[in-house]
Amino acid sequence: MPEPLLELRDVKTHFPVRHGLVFQREVGTVRAVDGVSLTVAAGEVVGLVGESGCGKSTLARTIMQLIPPTAGTVLLGGRNLTTGTAADLRGARRQLQMVFQDPYASLNPRLTVFDTLAEPMRVHRICPAGEIPSRVAALMERVGLAPRFVRKYPHEFSGGQRQRIAIARALALEPRIIIADEPVSALDVSIQAQILNLLAGLCRDMNLALVFIAHDLSVVKHISDRVAVMYLGRIVELGPAVDVIERPAHPYTRALVSAIPVPDPERECGRQRIVLAGDPPSPLNPPLGCSFHPRCAHATDACRAAVPALWPAGPGREAACARLGEI
């Protein structure tokens, strides 16, 4: 197996919860990401799914070092990003870029498309100033925007076009990996398809690795090579996208897959649904043992006692369930 491009080793991101105005005291810890290990190979698309509050966005920001991890290491091309100076990190960011969910909030409304795309090139001095206009034009064409829009401001574009600008900005430094946090969730179905096609094409043509975060399993299955399912700060299942989503091993993944409405009335009316009771528990006060056990139909006393580790569950697959073989 080739050396992974991105490697996470037991990454934890905890947030202290403080009380009081002047004399603040810590009253608890939100374990947003609680021991995640994951590798991404060059050119690979890894989908990260889970419900709100499961820590997938915090994990994305931790990979980007926008939030420093509490523990664990993030390695990019063998280099540890969690140690080292700000200058080291800036160098690493050339290879590691991010696309955010809301293209209305992630673009500076006072910058034209040109300034938005030229800024990273200037900061990283990747080319002589004279080359910037031609590079910007090429980038815009690459993401399907007409270069004549170069002097326009974000508010003059639709949501889908703004997301194209955000993707172009991420591509400006020719990174090797992009972290995309729900890049299509805010878009309508027909526009979503355009952006998914664009991202899939970029990965294929530029050998770009992608960590694709979404809550929509069908989107993740479509674009990803492998998928990681998160629940309450941990990965509970990991494996090839089609296998995991068509034959889920972990009870949570099974429930998640079964909860997604299928746009086909024949299948939708006939199939068996697993409707989970209750809401996901709070990461402030997670249940002991397997964090899914209060909602799991198969839970035993063993599940309540110890946190199950990720365990091999078929070729290239892992799942964190104590009763893996039995259910």
Binding site: E51, S52, S158, G160, D188, V189, S190, I191, Q192, A193, Q194, L196, N197, A200, H215, L217, S218, V219, K221, H222, I223, A241, V242, A255, L256, S258, A259, I260, P261, V262, P263, D264, P265, E266, E268, C269, R273, V275, L276, A277, D279, P280
Partner: protein
């Protein structure tokens, strides 16, 4: 066979918004009917007019800038668009109820759940506060909230998103309405919670025998829940059919394109069909078919003559002239 008189008949509804930058025809000539006990899905992308249609029926369009330009919406003999305020009050919240997308903004944060739940009862039924509270407790139990007596004394912020939507549903159904309008009630929720809420709506509908208009952008939700579906685009209905017929054989090019752009229905890794371009600007008059500029089958006649929703078979109607002519 459809019953002779539908519960609700909407005819040629036109709602527009008069703004400084022009007149936006948000709903432009929409007609449909809902039978008792039936579930009608209204599907469309943002800005297609699906919410404005239902807000118009409920009298929730702010006027100005909004204006209902024409049409009628007859609910059991009463035209909702022209009736007196007193008539409207007697129907709204009593025989027609509505639930909204965001349960946080549609519950009053200053009032305890109990006070919000009994308000429709105190207004619409001659009932004592004590009896209303009893009914409220039953209503909460019916939507799966245990320990209702204690929970009723809490405030909305003390509930999770899924629980708040349950409270909304309990509140909407407490007067046993004949029609429930649900405006994207599960869009803000996680999928496992969405599954719970959809199951709850199904179950309560069976128990109460009410009709439901379910507005959503998610074709998957429609497939499992609705008897009939109508697809809206640019303020008009472009296709209307029983759910199975619509998914098995969509006629209108927009519906077909929509279906082909959903990843769940496509082979993994294949390029998704994407509808090029953007929906039209509703502040400009659209003489022909609103989808023509993005349609791969459009010919010059499509942008000239108005596209009319006509029946192809007795219960399957669509607004594509070329499909009607048998050309595509």
């Amino acid at each position: 066979m459809r019953p002779a008189v539908p519960l609700l008949t909407v005819t040629d509804l036109r709602t527009s918004f008069h703004t400084r930058s022009g007149v936006y025809r948000a709903v432009d000539g929409v007609s449909f009917a809902v039978d008792r006990g039936e579930t009608l899905g209204i599907v469309g992308e943002s800005g297609s007019g699906k919410s404005v249609t239902c807000y118009s029926l409920m009298g929730l369009i702010p006027q100005p800038p909004g204006r209902i330009e024409g049409g009628s919406a007859v609910f059991d003999g009463v035209d909702l668009l022209k009736c007196t305020p007193a008539q409207a009050r007697g129907l709204r919240g009593k025989r027609i109820a509505m639930i909204f997308q965001d349960p946080m903004t549609s519950l009053n944060p200053y009032l305890r759940i109990a006070d919000q739940l009994i308000e429709p009862l105190l207004i619409h039924e001659r009932i004592s506060r004590a009896a209303a509270l009893l009914r409220a407790g039953e209503a909460l139990e019916a939507v799966g909230i245990n320990d209702a007596g204690r929970r009723m004394q809490l405030y909305p912020h003390e509930f999770s998103g899924g629980m708040r939507q349950r409270v909304m549903i309990a509140m909407a159904l407490i007067t046993r309405p004949e029609l429930l309008i649900a405006d994207e009630p599960t869009t803000a929720l996680d999928v496992t919670v969405q599954a719970q809420i959809l199951e709850l709506i199904r179950q309560r509908q069976r128990e109460l025998g009410m009709a439901v208009i379910f507005i959503t952008h998610d074709l998957g939700v429609v497939a499992g829940l609705c008897d009939r579906v109508q697809v809206m685009y640019a303020g008009r209905i472009v296709e209307s059919a029983p759910t199975r017929a619509l998914f098995a054989a969509p006629r209108h090019p927009y519906t077909r394109a929509l279906q082909r752009s959903i990843p769940a229905l496509q082979r993994k890794g294949a390029a998704l069909y994407s509808i090029e371009g953007l929906p039209p600007d509703l502040s400009r008059p659209i003489p022909g078919c609103p989808f023509a500029p993005r349609c791969e089958h459009a010919v010059s006649a499509c942008s000239g003559a108005p596209a009319v929703l006509r029946s192809a078979t007795p219960d399957h109607a669509h607004a594509c002239a070329r499909v009607h002519a048998g050309e595509i």
